[in-house]
């Protein structure tokens, strides 16, 4: 019997204290906030970008390379998505972090250090990006989307005041377009004023543009094939929202807004899939998802600016003020100012609005 008691005592003693915490206290206590890190930067953002300008896509071998910047992007509306823009006195870099709600962890104005060793500097259609090596070879960089990988490279520093948006002129944008990749304007939080709806004679061959959307007839088939893609560009097609959630898109689709679009070889009512007998439109409908939409604006000297809004943004279905669109033929929309992250896309200016309050009508 004694022995049994000894065994019992031993068994209880073997139990770790850890497992008794919830039994007795049920309290884990309050948690401290993050401790702000302080690292010494070894390079500026401009120096980082210069590496790309010099070498092209580059996996950074210098394990000690650290850049420092303040957070200027805020993804609370979901329009800026999976990118963290940080800015120092020499420019901005977009860190490709493949998670949503980055503003939960990285606050506007907060200092961020990036340990660049092992990361890859590259670009996407002219826009500088810092990510990891894309081993598929499809893009120049890939997302950091594992929290451990992110935390090892993106270090949170002290909180600070948010950087106010920079008012940018048409001339500055023209100049930035000329310089391209290394211009410090790209990625900045800016306010562009005097934007009017529609874009005449944009940078390339487009004659006159209102919106641009790209639909995949069957997203599980080859997305790069022109027979699986439907472009709707130039006119408005009756789209009056900044973008389209899945349901809003279906509303437009069912109202016949996109009936005049088609793939490279088929119209909307042609049979797309012989096996199922679905037409292009029916297949689009069956695979409907939110649609990212670009609205074209132009500045007084004619520089086109695309305001590009994600279909997953919370304000995707927000109506654009009818006065802004105006009478399309008369091109008499009222001017606006818009605040967001300015980027370059294949030699064109794009603006990603922060949220629905980023647009002001100027009358």
């Amino acid at each position: 019997m004694k022995r049994a008691l000894v065994i019992l005592a031993a068994a209880l003693a073997l139990a770790s204290c850890e497992e008794w915490e919830p039994v007795f206290t049920l309290k884990n206590g309050d948690v401290d906030m993050y401790k702000a890190a302080e690292l010494t930067p070894t390079a500026t953002i401009a120096e980082l970008k210069a590496l790309y300008a010099k070498h092209g896509v580059l996996k950074i071998q210098d394990d000690d390379m650290v850049i420092k910047g303040k957070v200027i992007s805020d993804d609370h509306s979901g329009n800026i998505y999976r990118e963290l823009y940080i800015q120092d006195e020499t420019g901005v870099i977009s860190v490709k972090i493949g998670l949503s709600s980055l503003y939960s962890d990285y606050k506007l104005g907060q200092t961020i250090y990036v340990r660049c060793g092992g990361l890859t500097i590259g670009q996407y259609n002219g826009m500088p990006q810092l990510g990891v090596e894309d081993q598929t070879g499809e893009y120049e960089t890939a997302y950091l989307d594992n929290r451990y990988l992110i935390d090892a490279h993106v270090i949170r520093g002290a909180f600070g005041d948010p950087v106010p948006p920079l008012s940018v002129t048409e001339a500055q944008l023209q100049e930035a377009l000329k310089e391209g990749y290394t211009n410090p304007l790209w990625g900045q939080l800016v306010t562009i004023t005097d934007l009017r709806y529609g874009a005449a004679g944009s940078y390339a061959s487009d004659h006159f543009k209102r919106i641009f959307i790209l639909l995949y007839v069957d997203p599980y088939k080859d997305k790069k094939s022109s027979t699986n893609r439907v472009f709707c560009s130039s006119e408005t097609y009756g789209v009056t929202t900044w973008a389209m959630s899945k349901n809003k898109f279906l509303e437009y689709l069912d109202a016949g807004c996109f009936d005049r679009c088609g793939t490279s070889d088929k119209g909307m009512d042609d049979v797309f899939d012989e096996m199922t007998g679905l037409t292009v439109k029916e297949s689009i409908r069956a695979n409907a998802t939110a649609v990212t939409t670009s609205h074209y604006f132009h500045l007084p000297q004619g520089l086109p600016v695309q305001i590009r809004t994600s279909g997953f943004a919370k304000f995707a279905d927000t109506e654009i003020d009818p006065d802004v669109i105006g009478d399309l033929n008369a091109q008499d929309g009222v001017p606006i100012s818009a605040t967001g992250i300015v980027t370059v896309y294949s030699g064109a200016v794009q603006l990603a609005l922060v949220d629905e309050n980023s647009v002001k009508i100027l009358k």
Binding site: M1, A4, L5, I7, L8, A11, L12, A15, S16, E18, E19, W20, E21, P22, V23, L26, N28, G29, D30, V31, D32, M33, Y34, G78, S101, S104, D105, K107, V132, E133, D134, Q135, T136, A142, D145, N146, R147, Y148, L149, D151, A152, D218, Y220, K221, S245, K246, N247, K248, D273, M275, T276, A286, T289, A290, F312, K314, F315, A316, D317, T318
Partner: protein
């Protein structure tokens, strides 16, 4: 006692009514334990002549019994006592003597009935459509169930492959299976082992005195004061599988001279275990009963019992996670907060049961009982909740190496660098990433200041299922003549269960938005549609802010009404007995929404469509009915009935042959009948009753230390329904899935034995359960999008073509089996007893276990893939059902008790399970209802990895008890 016996004799005389002759013969003896010759008090002895019951007595404190006034003849005496196997003895009464049988010994059943009824780690199965309740009850008298109950529990064995709902469990004559889910409700009294030790069980389709029952046996726990062993009993128990420490104290007065008797049982179960981190117990239990015998005819009793407390739950993960972290018992539910372990999934319950029971026994030929039982209180389950934030679950599939790199190029997952980073998390078991990072959740909430207060992005919700369950049951037994017995009764149940979410912890924040994040994805520009409480939004013009203790999310009543009437007649002719019984009743249930959800506002209070911002927001189903979250749904009503026949033939020497057949037409459960009960009143289409046809034949012998039973059974269960909700990648949306017309067949045998050997004190024991449980139909499925209740074309009202089987490329047909129980289970063992010592050693084998299937993989959609072409390879790949590896287990139990001054008993038992420390034994799991769709070749889809539960490795339980 004497009174009772006299009464019995009088009743006997009356019922026979043949002559005025007074019999003087009888039988006496002492019931003792075969193990140690200790007297067994409270054993129930039923004397039969042929199959006709002649008398029933209970052994006294000293194990003695006496049955008098017997005619000359040959009788069969059947003895039952808790913890012992049933035994049968032949008795010959002649020349009017009272025959002394001296010691009648009972063989102990599995000595480990100390195990909790919830003897397995609870897994968090929310929304998976997967249930994990074992169905074997501990401490039964039956030789098969007794051993299977203990030895097979580790692998979640289900008797004959049946689900938990099919097992009827009664408390004081009231059916306690959950009104909403049908599950057997053992957790309501876990920790009250002493109070619930006495049980009366019938197997398969036998008819019980408490009801017609179903096809998977019926167990009644009387729980009255007199059913508890007289005296004090205290025990201290430690085990390594569930909790460290159990303390239990019990007292029962036994029958007192003044007619009163009372009993109580309290316990505490505390601490963690060796195997699953984050799982802990902080559970208490109480039971108090009082009973008063007014005179011979009237007895009234009251019971109150409950098990307040909380326990941490485990979670299942994929094999990838288990392999990387090197532990099949990894639990993703916990993480460190301030360096201390915290579990996100905690079950918090306190559901008291109050019982008032009246027994009426005017004569030996008639007895009746009426019970009122009320179950109430709270039943909660905490879970992480988040809005506007990243998924905090550590084993979310995007956190695993396989999300970044797969050998098979077709997945287009080529990033070895990212995979290496992800792998390091698991290989090194980095606490911040391989477990919930509570510190981060707090930091995020604290940093998220809006309107001068901290809006929580992460929170802990409590999902409540608060029942109010009022039951009335009446039953009677009437034996007008010795050869005929009529039993019958009626019962009614009124249940109102409130399902709601309650804010449990804001994790350092001040409030949480009452928004539907899934709806927001589709309807961000229509704020009214994303409101969980539209009425609040309309009244206040803003989203509701939730504070700790507030209800939010969903809130509805499940209302259930049931009544039944039943009757059975038993005819005894010589050694032959036939019983026929039937029941008829009605089940009705409906949902009553208590909040108006933005997605499904329904009609306004005047019965008109609702209009917000000039838009009509009321939506309608395909029948033109408004889809509503608010108010009362249609009432689903079902006529239920059942019929049974039992045939029984006994032979001298304790042999018994019997056969049972039954047909049942039962209502579906509320939990499987609404498309999406959290959001709307919509009933699943084509709801119908579940039809079951069953038959079994049995041979049993229980005599002189020999116990043996063999059974063959055949059961068809038809028209079952199931609903599930999950995130469906093929729809990019949360969807609801209803399956109807699921048919199963269960055919097999079970055999159990305990046989003395030539070596003194050594017995051979064993059980074999072998069956084939498989699906026999291809059910219909109905898929709707959760956000708008719209029908999904192609998967609504169509047959799941590969549910019951699928063709293999070689042309053979692969059958699909009923999941999550071994269809072959064998236990062989030795039992040795000497001088109050016992040793039990068993080796167990389990095979033919299958993984639970999801219907999505068995559809044309999934097998066709992106190219819409179904190939034999795709069918085989998508539709195959995983069969688990067979496993071996070795168990050993030892125990000893001491009598001190013949007054006190001190003893211990030590059970060591899984001595081989096998940690690779899968006990269940399920397929994730998700598909990998973005492939390179665009020809086929891939499955997501399945999730598994494992059995824990070596574990022990030491129990030390003291009785006086």
């Amino acid at each position: 006692m004497i009174k009772k016996l006299t009464l019995a004799a009088v009743a006997l005389l009356l019922s026979l009514g043949l002559s005025a002759q007074t019999y003087t013969g009888g039988v006496r003896g002492t019931v003792v334990s075969r193990t140690d010759r200790a007297p067994v008090p409270g054993a129930v002895l039923v004397l039969y002549q042929g199959t006709a019951e002649v008398a029933t007595v209970t052994s006294g404190d000293d194990g003695r019994f006496l049955i008098e006034d017997l005619d000359n003849g040959i009788y069969d005496l059947v003895i039952q006592a808790p913890d012992y196997l049933e035994t049968r003895v032949n008795v010959t009464v002649n020349d009017g003597y009272v025959k002394n049988m001296f010691n009648l010994s009972l063989t102990r059943g599995a000595v480990v009935s100390e195990v909790d009824v919830d003897n397995l780690v609870e897994f968090d199965m929310d929304d998976t459509g997967y249930g994990d309740s074992p169905t074997v009850l501990f401490g039964q008298n039956d030789v098969f169930n007794n051993m299977a109950g203990y030895n097979f529990s580790a692998v979640r064995y289900r008797v004959r492959g049946y689900s938990s709902e099919s097992q009827d469990v009664y408390l004081a004559g009231v059916k306690m299976n959950d009104a909403i889910t049908g599950y057997s409700p053992f957790s309501l009294w876990s920790g009250l082992n002493e109070a619930t030790r006495t049980k009366y069980t019938v197997n398969g389709a036998e008819i019980s005195d408490y009801g017609i029952g179903g096809y998977n046996g019926l167990t009644n726990l009387p729980v009255n004061a007199l059913s508890v062993r007289k005296g004090w009993r205290g025990s201290v128990l430690t085990n390594s599988q569930l909790y460290r420490l159990r303390l239990m104290l019990t007292y029962a007065s036994g029958p007192r001279d003044d007619g009163w008797s009372y009993a109580f049982n309290v316990s505490a179960r505390l601490g963690g275990n060796d195997w699953v981190k984050g799982v802990y117990y902080r559970s208490f239990a109480y039971y108090a009963a009082v009973e008063k015998q007014f005179n011979d005819a009237h007895k009234i009793g009251a019971v109150i019992m409950g098990t307040p407390g909380e326990r941490g739950a485990a979670n299942s993960s994929t094999q990838e996670v288990y392999d990387l972290i090197g532990d099949n018992m990894y639990n993703s539910n916990w993480g460190y907060q301030n360096g201390k372990v915290r579990n996100a999934r905690v079950r918090k319950t306190h559901e008291p049961i109050a019982i008032l029971k009246y027994d009426f026994t005017p004569s030996h030929a008639f007895n009746a009982a009426a019970t009122v039982l009320y179950r109430f209180g709270k039943n909660g389950y905490t879970a992480l909740d988040w809005y506007d934030a990243q998924d905090p679950r550590p084993d979310y599939y995007r956190n695993l190496p396989s999300y970044y790199f797969m050998e098979e190029d077709d997945y287009n997952r080529l990033n070895g660098m990212k995979a290496a980073w992800a792998e390091e998390v698991w290989r090194k078991d980095l606490p911040q990433y391989a477990h919930i990072d509570w510190d981060r959740l707090y930091a995020v909430n604290k940093m998220n200041v809006e309107d001068g207060a901290r809006r929580s992005k992460y929170a802990v919700q409590e999902r409540r299922t608060d029942q109010q369950d009022l039951n009335f049951a009446f039953n009677f037994k009437w034996r007008p003549v010795r050869t005929f017995t009529l039993t019958g009764g009626a019962d009614a149940k009124v249940n109102r269960t409130e399902y709601y979410q309650r804010m449990d912890d804001l994790l350092g924040g001040d409030y949480f938005y009452n928004m539907d994040s899934f709806a927001e994805r589709d309807y961000a520009a229509f704020p009214y549609m994303t409101q969980n409480d539209l009425d609040y939004w309309l009244a206040n013009g803003r989203v509701q802010k939730i504070h700790v203790g507030d209800k939010y999310g969903y809130d509805y009543y499940a209302n259930v009404r049931k009544w039944n009437g039943w009757l059975s007649g038993k005819l005894n002719i010589g050694n032959f007995e036939m019983a026929v019984g039937g029941r008829v009743g009605q089940t009705a249930f409906w949902r009553h929404g208590l909040n108006r959800k933005g997605l499904f506002p329904g009609l306004d209070k005047d019965g008109k469509p609702m209009v917000i911002d000039g838009r009509v927001v009321t939506t309608y189903d395909e029948n033109g009915e408004p889809i509503t979250s608010y108010g009362k749904s249609k009432v689903a009503r079902f006529l239920t009935y059942a019929g049974k026949v039992n045939l029984n033939y006994v032979l001298p020497g304790g042999h018994r042959f019997y056969a049972n057949a039954g047909y049942f037409n039962d209502a579906p459960n509320f939990s499987q009948s609404f498309m999406s009960p959290r959001t709307r009143n919509q009933l699943a289409p084509e709801l119908t009753t579940v039809k079951t046809l069953t038959g079994d034949i049995n041979y049993q012998v229980s005599s002189n230390g020999y116990n043996f039973r063999i059974t063959g059974y055949y059961t068809d269960i038809m028209d079952q329904a199931k609903v599930m909700s999950f995130y469906d990648d093929s729809q990019n949306s949360f969807t609801n899935f209803a399956l109807t017309g699921i048919d199963e067949r269960h055919v097999g045998m079970e055999m159990g034995w305990k046989i003395p050997t030539d070596i003194p004190n050594l017995a051979l024991q064993g059980v074999i359960g072998y069956g084939e449980y498989y699906y026999t139909s291809n059910p219909k499925m109905y898929q709707t999008i959760d956000n708008n209740a719209s029908i999904v074309e192609g998967t609504y009202g169509v047959t799941v073509p590969y549910w019951k089987s699928h063709p293999e490329p070689d042309g053979t047909i692969a059958r699909h089996y009923v999941e999550s129980t071994p269809q072959l289970a064998v236990s062989l063992g030795l039992n040795w007893n000497w001088n109050y010592w016992f040793v039990d050693a068993d080796i167990d084998y389990f095979g033919h276990s299958y993984l639970s299937m999801n219907p999505l993989y068995r559809t044309d959609y999934a097998t066709a893939g992106p190219d819409k072409e179904v190939t034999p390879f795709e069918v085989s790949y998508m539709c195959s059902q995983e069969k688990f590896d067979p496993s071996w287990l070795l168990n050993l139990s030892v125990g000893k008790s001491w009598y001190i001054q013949r007054k006190y008993q001190l003893g211990f038992s030590l059970n060591a399970k899984n001595l081989l420390n096998n940690t690779w034994v899968k006990t269940g799991g399920y397929e994730q209802t998700r598909i990998v769709k973005n492939t390179v070749a665009k020809q086929m889809f891939y499955r997501f990895d399945s999730k598994y539960f494992y059995m824990s490795g070596f574990n022990y339980m030491l129990n030390i008890y003291f009785r006086f």
